[in-house]
C-alpha cells in the first residue's frame, strides 16, 4: 500500500510539471533548424552467445519521408532463443527454445518550428506480451545551439507462463524523459538525458525461485517462488559528449547514474572512439557498469518465508560488468545517384563480462550451501548490418 501510494504521488506530480514544460516549449517564438531523420533501410543480423544460451535473428528498419513534413519508420526484430541459462539449470529445467518478435511504427511530424514524434511498439513471445505507445516533442532554442526533447511513453505488459495456461498478470509502465543537446563549439556537442520510469503490476519472473537454507535435504537448500513488490519507480540521469578530431575521427564519453525505489543504485561509464580511413570507419568502445543489490535480494535466505519480499534474480544482485567492443563499416557506394545516396555494410563485435558479487553458482552442490563460487557470465555479441540511405 505504501509503495502504491508512492507511485501515485510521483505520477500525480509529474503530470502538471510536464504539462507546464510542454507549454513552455510550444510558446517559444524562436527560429528552428529542425530536420526530419534521414530516409534509410537497415537490415541487421544479431547474435548473442553466453552462459549456454544463444539468441539470434534478423531485424529490419525502414524510414520514408514525405514532403519534408512527415517521416514514417517501422522496424521488425526477431529473437530466436535456445539453450538453458544458469537460472533454468539451477531449477532443474531442461533447455528450451522460444521466439520473440518486436515491431514498431512511428511518425515524425515537422510542423512550423516543432517536431512531434509518436508511435506504437509491441513485443510478443509465447509467455510475455508487451505493448507501448510513445510521444515526444522537440524544439531548438538559443540560435539552434540547444535542442530539448520531452517524451512520454506508456506500456502495457501481460505476463504468462508456458506451463500454466491460466496464469496471466498485468504490468503498466509510465516513462517520462527529457533530452537536451547543446552545441558547445564547432567540434563539440554535449547531451543530457533524464528519465523517470514507474511500473505497477506483476514485476517478477513467474518461473524463478529463491533458495533458502534447508538442513532436511542433502544439498542444504530448497526453493520457494519469488515475491516482488508490485511497484517500482526509477530515475536515471546521463550526460555524454562527442568531440570531433580534425584527422577524421571522434571521441565520445558518457556517464549514467541510476537509482530506484528497490534501493538499487548503478553507475555506467562508456568511452568510444571512431575513425574514418578512406571508405572504412572503424570504432572501439569500452563500457563499465556497476550496481548494488535490491533491498529484498539474497542469494540464500536463512529460512522459508524469511521476508515479505524475496528475490534471487541475478539481475538484481550486486554486480559489475565490462564490455569491450569493436566495429568496422565499409562504404559500398559513396556516389549519390537518383535513388540511392549511400550504402554501407558494418560488422560489430562486443565481448561482455558480468561478475556477480553475491550471486553464487548453485549448480555446484558438493560444497556447503552459501559457499559456492561466485557466478560470472561471458558473452559474445555480434551484429552484421547493411544500411542504404536514399
Amino acid at each position: 500500500m505504501v509503495a502504491t501510494s508512492t507511485i501515485k504521488n510521483g505520477v500525480d506530480h509529474l503530470f502538471p510539471a510536464f504539462f507546464i514544460a510542454i507549454m513552455c516549449s510550444l510558446l517559444q517564438p524562436i527560429a528552428n533548424a529542425a530536420v526530419l531523420p534521414e530516409e534509410r533501410l537497415d537490415l541487421l543480423y544479431h547474435s548473442y552467445e553466453g552462459d549456454n544460451t544463444k539468441i539470434d535473428g534478423p531485424a529490419i528498419l525502414v524510414r520514408k519521408n514525405f514532403a519534408d513534413k512527415i517521416s514514417i519508420a517501422s522496424h521488425h526484430l526477431v529473437d530466436n532463443v535456445s539453450g538453458a541459462s544458469i537460472d533454468v539449470r539451477v531449477f532443474g529445467a531442461s533447455a528450451y527454445r522460444e521466439k520473440r518478435t518486436e515491431q514498431s511504427l512511428s511518425f515524425n511530424l515537422l510542423q512550423d518550428k516543432t517536431q512531434y514524434v509518436f508511435g506504437y511498439e509491441q513485443s510478443n513471445e509465447n509467455d510475455f506480451d508487451a505493448k507501448g505507445a510513445f510521444i515526444s516533442i522537440s524544439q531548438d532554442f538559443f540560435g539552434d545551439l540547444t535542442n530539448i526533447t520531452l517524451g512520454y511513453s506508456r506500456g502495457w505488459d501481460t505476463v504468462g507462463m508456458s506451463t500454466d495456461a491460466n496464469f496471466s498478470e498485468d504490468v503498466e509502465r509510465d516513462s517520462f524523459s527529457i533530452k537536451i543537446s547543446q552545441i558547445l563549439t564547432p567540434k563539440a556537442i554535449l547531451f543530457a538525458n533524464m528519465e523517470t520510469i514507474s511500473d505497477e503490476g506483476f514485476l517478477n519472473n513467474p518461473y524463478r525461485s529463491v533458495r533458502f537454507i534447508d538442513p532436511s535435504v542433502s544439498r542444504g537448500w530448497s526453493l520457494q517462488p519469488e515475491v516482488y513488490p508490485n511497484t517500482r519507480t526509477s530515475n536515471a540521469f546521463s550526460i555524454s559528449g562527442l568531440y570531433y578530431l580534425d584527422y577524421g575521427a571522434s571521441l565520445g564519453g558518457s556517464i549514467r547514474y541510476f537509482n530506484d525505489t528497490w534501493d538499487i543504485s548503478a553507475q555506467t561509464l562508456e568511452l568510444k572512439y571512431k575513425q574514418r580511413i578512406q571508405t572504412f570507419t572503424i570504432g572501439a568502445r569500452i563500457r563499465f557498469h556497476q550496481q548494488n543489490e535490491a533491498s529484498f535480494y539474497s542469494d540464500l535466505f536463512p529460512f522459508r518465508d524469511a521476508q515479505n519480499f524475496l528475490a534471487r534474480d541475478k539481475e538484481l544482485s550486486d554486480l559489475s560488468s565490462i564490455m569491450l567492443g569493436f566495429s568496422i563499416s565499409y562504404a559500398l557506394k559513396t556516389e549519390q545517384t537518383r535513388w540511392i545516396n549511400k550504402v554501407e555494410a558494418s560488422l560489430a563485435y562486443d565481448r561482455y563480462q558480468i561478475d556477480y558479487n553475491n550471486f553464487r553458482n548453485a549448480e555446484i552442490v558438493s560444497v556447503t550451501a552459501g559457499t559456492e563460487p561466485l557466478f560470472s557470465l561471458n558473452a559474445d555479441l555480434i551484429r552484421f548490418y547493411f544500411t542504404a540511405w536514399y
Binding site: A3, T6, L14, A17, F18, I20, A21, C24, S25, L27, A33, V35, P37, D42, H46, A59, L61, L77, D140, F141, L145, I148, K179, I180, S181, I183, P186, K187, I189, F191, M194, I197, P229, S234, N235, A236, F237, S238, S240, Y244, S250, R256, F258, N259, T261, W262, A266, R276, H289, A294, S295, F296, A306, Q307, N308, E315, S321, S327, D350, R383
Partner: protein, 86 residues
C-alpha cells in the same frame, strides 16, 4: 517473520527540477543570445562520426541486451537528441 525490506522514497530529480529547468529555459528564451557557432560552422557536427546513435537498430538491440541483464534502465546515452544539422 523477519522483515528486511524497507522501502525508502527516492525522487531525486523527478519533479521540481524539471519545472525549474523549463522555467529557466522559458525566461532565458526571451533574451537575445547570439549563436557562437554559426550554421556554416556545423559541418563537422553534422558528420556521422558525431552522431550519438551508432545505428538505430543496433542501439535498440544493445539497449535491450543491457536492460535484460542489468537493473539500470532509462536515459541511455545513445538516445540523445541531435544538433538539427544532418
Amino acid at each position: 517473520m523477519m522483515t528486511k525490506f524497507n522501502r525508502t522514497k527516492k525522487h531525486c530529480f523527478a519533479v521540481k527540477p524539471i519545472l525549474f529547468l523549463f522555467l529557466v529555459v522559458f525566461i532565458l528564451s526571451g533574451c537575445s543570445i547570439k549563436p557562437w557557432v554559426k550554421p556554416y560552422q556545423r559541418n563537422k557536427l553534422a558528420d556521422s562520426l558525431m552522431s550519438p546513435e551508432n545505428n538505430p537498430l543496433d542501439d535498440k538491440y544493445m539497449n535491450h541486451a543491457f536492460k535484460s541483464r542489468e537493473a539500470a534502465r532509462g536515459a541511455e546515452a545513445t538516445s540523445g537528441g541531435g544538433c538539427g544539422c544532418n
